[in-house]
Protein backbone atom coordinates (compact mmCIF):
# COMPACT_ATOMS: atom_id res chain seq x y z
CA UNK A 1 0.00 0.00 0.00
CA UNK A 2 2.74 2.40 1.04
CA UNK A 3 4.73 1.32 -1.97
CA UNK A 4 1.85 2.08 -4.25
CA UNK A 5 1.29 5.47 -2.63
CA UNK A 6 4.97 6.20 -2.99
CA UNK A 7 4.92 5.17 -6.63
CA UNK A 8 1.87 7.39 -7.14
CA UNK A 9 3.62 10.31 -5.52
CA UNK A 10 6.72 9.67 -7.62
CA UNK A 11 4.55 9.68 -10.75
CA UNK A 12 2.93 12.95 -9.73
CA UNK A 13 6.32 14.49 -9.11
CA UNK A 14 7.54 13.20 -12.49
CA UNK A 15 4.49 14.62 -14.21
CA UNK A 16 5.11 17.95 -12.53
CA UNK A 17 8.75 17.98 -13.52
CA UNK A 18 8.29 17.26 -17.21
CA UNK A 19 6.47 20.20 -18.76
CA UNK A 20 5.47 19.65 -22.34
CA UNK A 21 7.73 21.05 -25.03
CA UNK A 22 4.57 22.54 -26.54
CA UNK A 23 5.10 25.60 -24.34
CA UNK A 24 8.20 26.67 -26.24
CA UNK A 25 8.18 30.16 -27.68
CA UNK A 26 7.10 30.39 -31.33
CA UNK A 27 10.08 29.86 -33.63
CA UNK A 28 12.49 28.42 -31.08
CA UNK A 29 14.86 25.99 -32.79
CA UNK A 30 16.55 23.18 -30.90
CA UNK A 31 19.94 22.09 -32.23
CA UNK A 32 21.05 18.67 -31.07
CA UNK A 33 22.94 17.14 -33.96
CA UNK A 34 26.16 16.83 -31.98
CA UNK A 35 25.43 18.17 -28.48
CA UNK A 36 24.20 15.00 -26.76
CA UNK A 37 27.02 12.97 -28.28
CA UNK A 38 29.49 15.60 -27.12
CA UNK A 39 28.18 15.56 -23.58
CA UNK A 40 26.80 19.09 -23.56
CA UNK A 41 23.23 20.30 -23.47
CA UNK A 42 21.59 21.01 -26.83
CA UNK A 43 21.42 24.57 -28.14
CA UNK A 44 18.20 26.59 -28.13
CA UNK A 45 18.09 29.24 -30.86
CA UNK A 46 15.32 31.79 -30.15
CA UNK A 47 14.22 33.42 -33.41
CA UNK A 48 12.27 36.14 -31.54
CA UNK A 49 15.32 37.36 -29.64
CA UNK A 50 17.36 37.64 -32.81
CA UNK A 51 14.73 39.25 -35.00
CA UNK A 52 14.39 42.13 -32.55
CA UNK A 53 18.07 42.85 -33.25
CA UNK A 54 18.63 41.70 -36.84
CA UNK A 55 16.59 41.34 -40.01
CA UNK A 56 16.18 37.77 -41.22
CA UNK A 57 18.59 38.29 -44.10
CA UNK A 58 21.58 39.01 -41.86
CA UNK A 59 21.72 35.39 -40.75
CA UNK A 60 19.97 33.76 -43.68
CA UNK A 61 22.07 35.54 -46.28
CA UNK A 62 25.23 37.09 -44.86
CA UNK A 63 25.93 34.42 -42.24
CA UNK A 64 25.10 31.53 -44.54
CA UNK A 65 22.28 29.85 -42.63
CA UNK A 66 19.97 27.90 -44.91
CA UNK A 67 16.27 28.64 -44.34
CA UNK A 68 15.37 25.01 -43.66
CA UNK A 69 15.81 23.57 -40.17
CA UNK A 70 18.30 20.72 -40.33
CA UNK A 71 20.06 22.05 -43.41
CA UNK A 72 22.85 23.74 -41.44
CA UNK A 73 25.74 21.62 -40.27
CA UNK A 74 27.31 23.86 -37.64
CA UNK A 75 30.17 22.60 -35.47
CA UNK A 76 31.60 24.33 -32.44
CA UNK A 77 34.88 24.74 -34.32
CA UNK A 78 33.03 26.77 -36.98
CA UNK A 79 31.75 29.16 -34.37
CA UNK A 80 35.12 29.59 -32.68
CA UNK A 81 36.71 30.26 -36.08
CA UNK A 82 34.12 32.93 -36.79
CA UNK A 83 31.68 31.20 -39.12
CA UNK A 84 27.88 30.96 -38.66
CA UNK A 85 26.98 32.03 -35.08
CA UNK A 86 30.61 32.99 -34.60
CA UNK A 87 30.26 35.90 -37.01
CA UNK A 88 28.44 37.76 -34.22
CA UNK A 89 29.06 35.66 -31.12
CA UNK A 90 32.63 36.82 -30.89
CA UNK A 91 32.56 39.13 -27.84
CA UNK A 92 32.30 42.03 -30.29
CA UNK A 93 28.69 42.03 -31.50
CA UNK A 94 27.35 39.45 -29.03
CA UNK A 95 28.71 37.26 -26.26
CA UNK A 96 31.49 34.89 -27.22
CA UNK A 97 31.77 31.13 -27.42
CA UNK A 98 33.23 30.78 -23.93
CA UNK A 99 29.83 31.49 -22.37
CA UNK A 100 28.69 27.97 -23.14
CA UNK A 101 25.53 27.67 -21.10
CA UNK A 102 23.77 30.73 -22.51
CA UNK A 103 23.32 28.82 -25.77
CA UNK A 104 23.77 25.23 -24.56
CA UNK A 105 20.80 25.52 -22.25
CA UNK A 106 18.38 23.00 -23.78
CA UNK A 107 17.03 19.90 -22.13
CA UNK A 108 19.26 16.91 -22.83
CA UNK A 109 17.75 14.31 -25.12
CA UNK A 110 15.36 16.55 -27.06
CA UNK A 111 15.29 16.11 -30.82
CA UNK A 112 16.49 18.83 -33.17
CA UNK A 113 13.86 20.92 -34.88
CA UNK A 114 11.58 23.93 -34.71
CA UNK A 115 9.63 23.96 -31.46
CA UNK A 116 6.65 26.07 -30.49
CA UNK A 117 5.80 26.11 -34.18
CA UNK A 118 2.08 26.23 -34.68
CA UNK A 119 -0.75 27.01 -32.38
CA UNK A 120 -2.05 23.54 -31.74
CA UNK A 121 -0.47 20.76 -29.79
CA UNK A 122 -2.48 17.64 -30.52
CA UNK A 123 -3.07 15.16 -33.33
CA UNK A 124 -4.46 17.95 -35.50
CA UNK A 125 -1.12 19.70 -35.38
CA UNK A 126 -0.48 21.62 -38.59
Amino acid sequence: MTGRALAGAALLVLAALTPSAACAEYGDVLLNRYSDQGGVRPVVFPHWFHRIRFRCKVCHDQLGFEMRAGANDVRMSDIIEGRFCGMCHNNDIAWGAERCDLCHSGRPGLKSGVYGGHQTTGPGRW
Binding site: M1, G8, A9, P19, A21, D101, S105, G117
Partner: protein
Protein backbone atom coordinates in the same frame (compact mmCIF):
# COMPACT_ATOMS: atom_id res chain seq x y z
CA UNK B 1 -1.51 34.25 16.24
CA UNK B 2 1.85 35.70 17.17
CA UNK B 3 3.19 32.31 18.12
CA UNK B 4 2.15 30.85 14.81
CA UNK B 5 3.81 33.59 12.79
CA UNK B 6 6.94 33.15 14.92
CA UNK B 7 6.70 29.47 14.27
CA UNK B 8 6.39 30.12 10.57
CA UNK B 9 9.54 32.19 10.67
CA UNK B 10 11.40 29.57 12.69
CA UNK B 11 10.21 26.93 10.32
CA UNK B 12 11.18 28.81 7.21
CA UNK B 13 14.59 29.56 8.71
CA UNK B 14 15.08 25.93 9.53
CA UNK B 15 13.85 24.99 6.07
CA UNK B 16 16.71 26.95 4.59
CA UNK B 17 19.03 24.72 6.54
CA UNK B 18 18.84 20.97 6.45
CA UNK B 19 15.51 19.33 5.79
CA UNK B 20 13.35 21.50 3.58
CA UNK B 21 10.66 18.94 2.70
CA UNK B 22 8.75 18.12 5.92
CA UNK B 23 9.03 21.62 7.32
CA UNK B 24 7.65 23.18 4.14
CA UNK B 25 4.83 20.72 4.33
CA UNK B 26 4.18 21.98 7.84
CA UNK B 27 4.12 25.58 6.65
CA UNK B 28 1.88 24.64 3.76
CA UNK B 29 -0.57 23.09 6.15
CA UNK B 30 -0.64 26.25 8.28
CA UNK B 31 -1.19 28.49 5.26
CA UNK B 32 -3.91 26.15 4.07
CA UNK B 33 -5.72 26.24 7.41
CA UNK B 34 -5.48 29.99 7.84
CA UNK B 35 -6.18 31.15 4.29
CA UNK B 36 -7.17 28.50 1.79
CA UNK B 37 -9.52 26.30 3.82
CA UNK B 38 -12.24 28.96 3.75
CA UNK B 39 -13.05 28.02 0.18
CA UNK B 40 -11.09 24.87 -0.54
CA UNK B 41 -12.35 22.74 2.38
CA UNK B 42 -15.90 22.85 1.07
CA UNK B 43 -15.05 23.35 -2.58
CA UNK B 44 -16.75 26.74 -2.88
CA UNK B 45 -17.05 28.03 -6.44
CA UNK B 46 -15.48 24.87 -7.76
CA UNK B 47 -12.31 25.14 -5.67
CA UNK B 48 -10.52 21.77 -5.70
CA UNK B 49 -10.94 20.06 -2.32
CA UNK B 50 -7.91 18.55 -0.59
CA UNK B 51 -7.82 14.79 -0.75
CA UNK B 52 -10.30 14.70 -3.62
CA UNK B 53 -8.64 12.96 -6.53
CA UNK B 54 -11.45 13.80 -8.95
CA UNK B 55 -11.03 17.52 -8.22
CA UNK B 56 -7.28 17.44 -8.54
CA UNK B 57 -6.71 14.90 -11.31
CA UNK B 58 -7.03 17.24 -14.32
CA UNK B 59 -5.24 20.03 -12.51
CA UNK B 60 -2.31 17.86 -11.54
CA UNK B 61 -2.01 16.67 -15.09
CA UNK B 62 -1.46 20.28 -16.20
CA UNK B 63 1.67 20.28 -14.06
CA UNK B 64 2.82 21.68 -10.76
CA UNK B 65 4.19 24.81 -12.45
CA UNK B 66 0.78 25.79 -13.79
CA UNK B 67 -0.82 25.06 -10.41
CA UNK B 68 1.64 27.41 -8.76
CA UNK B 69 1.06 30.06 -11.39
CA UNK B 70 -2.72 29.82 -11.11
CA UNK B 71 -2.55 30.01 -7.33
CA UNK B 72 -0.29 33.07 -7.42
CA UNK B 73 -1.79 34.92 -10.38
CA UNK B 74 -5.36 33.72 -10.01
CA UNK B 75 -7.63 32.24 -12.69
CA UNK B 76 -10.69 33.25 -14.63
CA UNK B 77 -12.57 30.35 -13.02
CA UNK B 78 -12.66 32.02 -9.63
CA UNK B 79 -9.32 31.60 -7.89
CA UNK B 80 -8.27 35.10 -6.73
CA UNK B 81 -4.54 35.92 -6.94
CA UNK B 82 -2.88 34.32 -3.91
CA UNK B 83 -6.37 33.41 -2.72
CA UNK B 84 -7.07 37.08 -2.05
CA UNK B 85 -4.07 37.50 0.27
CA UNK B 86 -1.69 39.81 -1.61
CA UNK B 87 0.71 39.95 1.36
CA UNK B 88 1.29 36.22 1.32
CA UNK B 89 4.82 35.38 0.07
CA UNK B 90 4.85 33.29 -3.12
CA UNK B 91 6.77 30.56 -1.33
CA UNK B 92 3.92 30.24 1.16
CA UNK B 93 1.37 29.92 -1.66
CA UNK B 94 3.50 27.22 -3.25
CA UNK B 95 3.81 25.42 0.07
CA UNK B 96 0.02 25.47 0.43
CA UNK B 97 -0.36 24.08 -3.09
CA UNK B 98 2.18 21.37 -2.25
CA UNK B 99 0.25 20.56 0.89
CA UNK B 100 -3.08 20.26 -0.91
CA UNK B 101 -1.70 18.15 -3.73
CA UNK B 102 0.08 15.91 -1.22
CA UNK B 103 -3.28 15.15 0.38
CA UNK B 104 -4.46 13.67 -2.89
CA UNK B 105 -1.70 11.09 -2.83
CA UNK B 106 -2.17 10.54 0.89
CA UNK B 107 -5.92 10.06 0.51
CA UNK B 108 -5.35 6.57 -0.82
CA UNK B 109 -4.53 5.40 2.70
CA UNK B 110 -7.50 6.79 4.68
CA UNK B 111 -9.82 5.86 1.85
CA UNK B 112 -9.26 2.20 2.63
CA UNK B 113 -10.59 2.60 6.20
CA UNK B 114 -12.52 5.85 6.40
CA UNK B 115 -13.88 5.28 9.94
CA UNK B 116 -10.33 5.30 11.30
CA UNK B 117 -9.52 8.39 9.31
CA UNK B 118 -12.47 10.30 10.66
CA UNK B 119 -11.68 9.67 14.33
CA UNK B 120 -8.23 11.32 14.54
CA UNK B 121 -9.65 14.21 12.54
CA UNK B 122 -11.77 15.32 15.46
CA UNK B 123 -8.77 15.12 17.76
CA UNK B 124 -6.11 16.69 15.60
CA UNK B 125 -8.14 19.62 14.34
CA UNK B 126 -8.48 21.46 17.71
CA UNK B 127 -4.89 20.58 18.58
CA UNK B 128 -3.63 21.96 15.30
CA UNK B 129 -2.45 25.29 16.65
CA UNK B 130 -0.27 23.71 19.33
CA UNK B 131 1.20 20.99 17.19
CA UNK B 132 3.57 23.15 15.13
CA UNK B 133 5.00 24.77 18.28
CA UNK B 134 5.92 21.43 19.67
CA UNK B 135 7.78 20.55 16.53
CA UNK B 136 9.52 23.85 16.16
CA UNK B 137 11.27 23.68 19.54
CA UNK B 138 13.54 20.78 18.62
CA UNK B 139 14.11 21.48 14.93
CA UNK B 140 16.57 18.64 14.61
CA UNK B 141 13.95 16.14 15.70
CA UNK B 142 11.25 17.55 13.46
CA UNK B 143 12.36 15.91 10.22
CA UNK B 144 12.04 12.50 11.81
CA UNK B 145 8.69 13.18 13.42
CA UNK B 146 7.09 15.10 10.59
CA UNK B 147 6.65 12.35 8.00
CA UNK B 148 4.88 10.18 10.54
CA UNK B 149 2.62 13.06 11.51
CA UNK B 150 1.91 14.07 7.97
CA UNK B 151 -0.38 11.13 7.22
CA UNK B 152 -3.01 11.73 9.96
CA UNK B 153 -2.92 15.43 9.18
CA UNK B 154 -3.69 14.77 5.59
CA UNK B 155 -6.52 12.57 6.71
CA UNK B 156 -7.73 15.33 9.01
CA UNK B 157 -8.13 17.67 6.07
CA UNK B 158 -9.85 15.12 3.92
CA UNK B 159 -12.08 13.82 6.68
CA UNK B 160 -14.40 16.72 7.66
CA UNK B 161 -16.54 15.92 4.66
CA UNK B 162 -16.96 12.14 4.55
CA UNK B 163 -18.51 12.40 1.09
CA UNK B 164 -15.20 13.57 -0.28
CA UNK B 165 -13.42 10.55 1.09
CA UNK B 166 -15.95 8.31 -0.53
CA UNK B 167 -15.59 10.02 -3.90
CA UNK B 168 -11.84 9.91 -3.54
CA UNK B 169 -11.93 6.17 -2.95
CA UNK B 170 -14.20 5.75 -5.96
CA UNK B 171 -11.82 7.80 -8.01
CA UNK B 172 -8.91 5.70 -6.88
CA UNK B 173 -10.62 2.43 -7.64
CA UNK B 174 -10.65 3.34 -11.32
CA UNK B 175 -7.82 5.82 -11.86
CA UNK B 176 -9.29 9.21 -12.79
CA UNK B 177 -12.62 8.27 -14.31
CA UNK B 178 -14.20 11.03 -16.31
CA UNK B 179 -11.30 13.37 -15.81
CA UNK B 180 -9.55 11.83 -18.82
CA UNK B 181 -12.68 12.31 -20.90
CA UNK B 182 -13.10 15.80 -19.46
CA UNK B 183 -9.63 16.70 -20.65
CA UNK B 184 -10.33 15.23 -24.08
CA UNK B 185 -13.61 17.10 -24.37
CA UNK B 186 -12.30 20.40 -23.03
CA UNK B 187 -13.12 23.41 -25.14
CA UNK B 188 -10.33 24.20 -27.61
CA UNK B 189 -8.17 21.55 -26.03
CA UNK B 190 -5.50 21.76 -28.72
CA UNK B 191 -5.02 25.49 -28.54
CA UNK B 192 -2.36 26.87 -26.31
CA UNK B 193 -4.14 28.35 -23.29
CA UNK B 194 -3.33 31.93 -22.28
CA UNK B 195 -1.27 30.76 -19.32
CA UNK B 196 1.14 28.91 -21.59
CA UNK B 197 2.00 31.72 -23.98
CA UNK B 198 5.33 33.54 -23.96
CA UNK B 199 6.66 31.57 -21.00
CA UNK B 200 10.09 32.47 -19.58
CA UNK B 201 12.88 30.11 -20.68
CA UNK B 202 12.93 28.16 -17.42
CA UNK B 203 9.29 27.11 -17.90
CA UNK B 204 9.06 26.63 -21.66
CA UNK B 205 9.86 22.92 -21.66
CA UNK B 206 12.86 23.02 -23.98
CA UNK B 207 15.32 24.92 -21.78
CA UNK B 208 16.95 23.07 -18.90
CA UNK B 209 15.99 25.06 -15.79
CA UNK B 210 18.97 23.56 -13.94
CA UNK B 211 21.46 25.60 -15.99
CA UNK B 212 22.50 29.08 -14.89
CA UNK B 213 22.40 30.22 -18.51
CA UNK B 214 18.68 29.53 -18.76
CA UNK B 215 18.00 31.94 -15.93
CA UNK B 216 20.17 34.64 -17.48
CA UNK B 217 18.27 34.59 -20.78
CA UNK B 218 15.75 37.33 -21.45
CA UNK B 219 12.14 36.20 -21.02
CA UNK B 220 10.02 36.94 -24.13
CA UNK B 221 7.52 39.12 -22.31
CA UNK B 222 10.29 41.37 -21.03
CA UNK B 223 11.06 42.17 -24.65
CA UNK B 224 7.51 42.17 -26.05
CA UNK B 225 6.08 44.65 -23.57
CA UNK B 226 5.99 47.75 -25.78
CA UNK B 227 5.37 45.97 -29.07
CA UNK B 228 2.03 45.76 -30.88
CA UNK B 229 0.33 42.46 -30.15
CA UNK B 230 -1.16 39.92 -32.52
CA UNK B 231 -3.25 36.81 -32.08
CA UNK B 232 -0.78 34.21 -33.22
CA UNK B 233 2.83 33.11 -33.29
CA UNK B 234 4.88 35.07 -30.79
CA UNK B 235 1.71 37.13 -30.32
CA UNK B 236 3.69 40.11 -31.54
CA UNK B 237 2.87 41.95 -34.77
CA UNK B 238 6.42 42.05 -36.08
CA UNK B 239 5.62 43.97 -39.25
CA UNK B 240 3.85 46.67 -37.30
CA UNK B 241 6.57 46.75 -34.63
CA UNK B 242 9.14 47.43 -37.35
CA UNK B 243 6.97 49.99 -39.14
CA UNK B 244 6.30 51.88 -35.93
CA UNK B 245 9.95 51.88 -34.97
CA UNK B 246 9.34 49.84 -31.83
CA UNK B 247 12.27 47.67 -32.93
CA UNK B 248 15.27 48.56 -35.05
CA UNK B 249 16.78 45.31 -36.26
CA UNK B 250 20.00 45.73 -38.21
CA UNK B 251 20.04 45.24 -41.97
CA UNK B 252 23.79 44.61 -41.92
CA UNK B 253 25.52 42.43 -39.37
CA UNK B 254 28.01 45.06 -38.22
CA UNK B 255 26.42 48.35 -39.31
CA UNK B 256 23.78 49.85 -37.09
CA UNK B 257 22.57 52.42 -39.62
CA UNK B 258 22.40 50.55 -42.93
CA UNK B 259 19.00 51.07 -44.57
CA UNK B 260 16.95 48.18 -45.92
CA UNK B 261 16.62 47.72 -49.67
CA UNK B 262 12.86 47.63 -50.00
CA UNK B 263 10.89 46.72 -53.09
CA UNK B 264 7.25 47.82 -53.22
CA UNK B 265 5.41 45.45 -55.54
CA UNK B 266 2.21 43.61 -54.79
CA UNK B 267 1.59 40.27 -56.47
CA UNK B 268 -2.03 39.17 -56.63
CA UNK B 269 -2.63 35.44 -56.80
CA UNK B 270 -6.09 34.29 -57.70
CA UNK B 271 -7.21 31.34 -55.67
CA UNK B 272 -9.74 28.61 -56.28
CA UNK B 273 -12.87 28.32 -54.21
CA UNK B 274 -14.51 31.06 -52.22
CA UNK B 275 -11.53 32.37 -50.33
CA UNK B 276 -10.48 35.92 -51.18
CA UNK B 277 -7.48 36.18 -53.50
CA UNK B 278 -4.03 36.46 -52.04
CA UNK B 279 -2.14 39.73 -52.15
CA UNK B 280 1.55 39.12 -51.69
CA UNK B 281 3.32 42.34 -50.66
CA UNK B 282 7.01 42.45 -51.55
CA UNK B 283 7.34 45.53 -49.35
CA UNK B 284 6.79 43.88 -45.98
CA UNK B 285 8.91 40.92 -47.01
CA UNK B 286 11.88 42.89 -48.30
CA UNK B 287 11.92 44.88 -45.07
CA UNK B 288 13.21 41.69 -43.51
CA UNK B 289 14.58 39.53 -46.29
CA UNK B 290 16.98 39.60 -49.20
CA UNK B 291 15.74 38.59 -52.65
CA UNK B 292 18.01 35.56 -52.52
CA UNK B 293 16.27 34.19 -49.45
CA UNK B 294 13.21 33.29 -51.51
CA UNK B 295 14.36 33.42 -55.15
CA UNK B 296 14.97 31.13 -56.87
CA UNK B 297 15.14 28.27 -54.35
CA UNK B 298 11.66 28.67 -52.83
CA UNK B 299 9.88 30.69 -55.53
CA UNK B 300 10.87 30.78 -59.17
CA UNK B 301 10.74 34.49 -60.09
CA UNK B 302 8.46 33.97 -63.06
CA UNK B 303 4.72 34.41 -63.36
CA UNK B 304 2.84 31.12 -63.22
CA UNK B 305 5.88 29.06 -62.39
CA UNK B 306 4.99 28.47 -58.74
CA UNK B 307 2.20 26.03 -57.99
CA UNK B 308 0.99 26.45 -54.43
CA UNK B 309 -1.60 24.92 -52.16
CA UNK B 310 -2.43 25.33 -48.52
CA UNK B 311 -1.56 21.67 -48.01
CA UNK B 312 1.94 22.26 -49.35
CA UNK B 313 2.30 25.39 -47.24
CA UNK B 314 1.27 23.46 -44.14
CA UNK B 315 3.97 20.94 -44.96
CA UNK B 316 6.57 23.68 -45.12
CA UNK B 317 6.70 24.28 -48.89
CA UNK B 318 6.61 27.77 -50.42
CA UNK B 319 5.28 30.33 -47.93
CA UNK B 320 5.36 27.56 -45.32
CA UNK B 321 9.14 27.82 -45.16
CA UNK B 322 8.59 30.75 -42.79
CA UNK B 323 4.82 31.06 -42.19
CA UNK B 324 4.07 28.55 -39.47
CA UNK B 325 7.63 28.49 -38.18
CA UNK B 326 8.76 32.05 -37.50
CA UNK B 327 6.41 34.31 -39.46
CA UNK B 328 2.70 34.46 -38.60
CA UNK B 329 1.05 31.05 -39.00
CA UNK B 330 -1.61 30.08 -41.54
CA UNK B 331 -4.34 30.41 -38.94
CA UNK B 332 -4.30 34.13 -39.82
CA UNK B 333 -6.04 33.47 -43.14
CA UNK B 334 -7.09 37.02 -43.92
CA UNK B 335 -3.65 38.53 -43.64
CA UNK B 336 -2.85 36.87 -46.98
CA UNK B 337 -6.31 36.17 -48.40
CA UNK B 338 -7.19 39.83 -48.42
CA UNK B 339 -8.59 40.67 -51.87
CA UNK B 340 -12.29 40.17 -52.55
CA UNK B 341 -13.09 38.34 -55.74
CA UNK B 342 -15.95 40.48 -57.02
CA UNK B 343 -13.77 43.07 -58.68
CA UNK B 344 -14.30 45.84 -56.10
CA UNK B 345 -11.00 44.73 -54.70
CA UNK B 346 -9.51 47.99 -53.66
CA UNK B 347 -12.06 48.67 -50.94
CA UNK B 348 -11.58 45.38 -49.15
CA UNK B 349 -7.90 44.95 -49.83
CA UNK B 350 -6.84 48.37 -48.63
CA UNK B 351 -7.77 47.99 -44.95
CA UNK B 352 -6.02 44.63 -44.84
CA UNK B 353 -2.97 46.03 -46.52
CA UNK B 354 -3.05 48.87 -44.01
CA UNK B 355 -3.26 46.41 -41.16
CA UNK B 356 -0.41 44.48 -42.64
CA UNK B 357 1.67 47.58 -42.98
Amino acid sequence: MRTTSLTTKLLSLAALGVMAGPLQAQEGRQVYEQKCAVCHAAGLAGAPRPGNAADWGPRLRAGKASLYRNAIQGTMRGMPPKGGNPDLPEAAVRAAVDFMTATVAAASKPAARPEVARKPAAQTAPAASTAPVRQAVPPAAAPVAAPAIAAPEAAAVAAPAPVQVASASLALARPEPGSGAAAANAFNRLLRPPGKRNLPPAEDGIHDPAVDGTLQLQPPLAAFGAMPRSNAGNRVDWVKALAEGKIAPRWERDKADAAAVVMDLNIVREVKGSMPDVVYPHKQHTEWLDCSNCHPAIFVPQKGANQMSMAAILLGQGCGACHGRVAFPVSECRLCHSKKKDGVAAGSAAPQAEAHR
